[in-house]
Symmetry: C2
Subunit: 222 residues, 2 copies
Amino acid sequence: MDKEISQAVIARLPRYFRYLGELKDSGVERISSQELSRLMHVTASQIRQDFNNFGGFGQQGYGYNVEYLYTEIGKILGLDKKHHLIIIGAGNLGQALANYMNFERRGFIFTGVFDINEKLHGKMIRGMKVRPMEEMQEFVRENNIDIAVLTIPKEGAAAAAEKLVGMGIKAIWNFAHVDLDVPDSVQVENVHLSDSLIKLSYMINQYENELEEKEKNASGEA
Amino acid sequence: MDKEISQAVIARLPRYFRYLGELKDSGVERISSQELSRLMHVTASQIRQDFNNFGGFGQQGYGYNVEYLYTEIGKILGLDKKHHLIIIGAGNLGQALANYMNFERRGFIFTGVFDINEKLHGKMIRGMKVRPMEEMQEFVRENNIDIAVLTIPKEGAAAAAEKLVGMGIKAIWNFAHVDLDVPDSVQVENVHLSDSLIKLSYMINQYENELEEKEKNASGEA
């Protein structure tokens, strides 16, 4: 892939992959961009444009081959390879993520969980015992870990990230409420839950302002 | 605000708000767009452009007034109003979200938690007992609930969303792995955790492909 694909297209790929996986699981073999458009509530032209970034996936005759499209998008997303991940932080969020069986289906193998809190050491989370942070380096090396999931408070996150970078981790999935400073060779995906909730507040506010505006205009016209 | 603000700008506002809150808490009174730029790793021109959507927030002399900027962006985000939220699903994720004290600081008041599982009824989560779903309607009405947080499996999510819409909820923060179909009057913010993890896989894959490409070119040149 020589051409630079826009961030917006990339952000949409996992959703295509999710819908195609569901179609595949329900036994659908072919789908047109129109049908996919109705299902996903995006325009058919957007779908065709997005897919054209990757050569169009050969829509011929009646629609796309679902299995082929699913496999090809999976390859673009790197889901044809297995990833081994560890979770740093054995709190509720760490436990919730460890129990998301869906990740395993996508090739993300939950391999270990670590916590600074001694009281949690030895506790079992989805068949894995919680280990002390001191064991992390050896564990990462021996188990070919490429992704670390950070579910610890922001105070410890920067130091943990620095350690992980030193261990040669490839990627950090960051739930700590802080932006991490890592080299370009380490991929970071932030899930700032507060930012997401705040966006919801914005949408409520915006909708109510528009409603008020409309009512004002309506009463002005009356 | 008559002008249409782009989704990209809106998506960046919570991050500005977060950084400004931290600056305010550390006692910083004024900051220039250059300093903010260094701190946030975005260009100063992007910051000025973003702020110009809202009238620029009056940068005069040396930089922006941090407290003023924080308050004004908070208003745009609707954070000057309180929101009451309930959590549907008392599993690990629901518990993790209930325990995020940060939400309360931003005016999101955790008011109740519901679950379909009888075994969980009466269990205490951050001072609230888990209630049966049957009590939800009355609870929503009596407690002025405007946001529902969905942390249940996707199988039950559509039905729960429909019920919530019928109860007049204003917004749904959706962690269920399914896109909800609700009227325009109900705001939905999706947190598709799998999509986010898959994006990380894409980034790892992309980085490794580029590295391989570079090595190939380097050996070709040698």
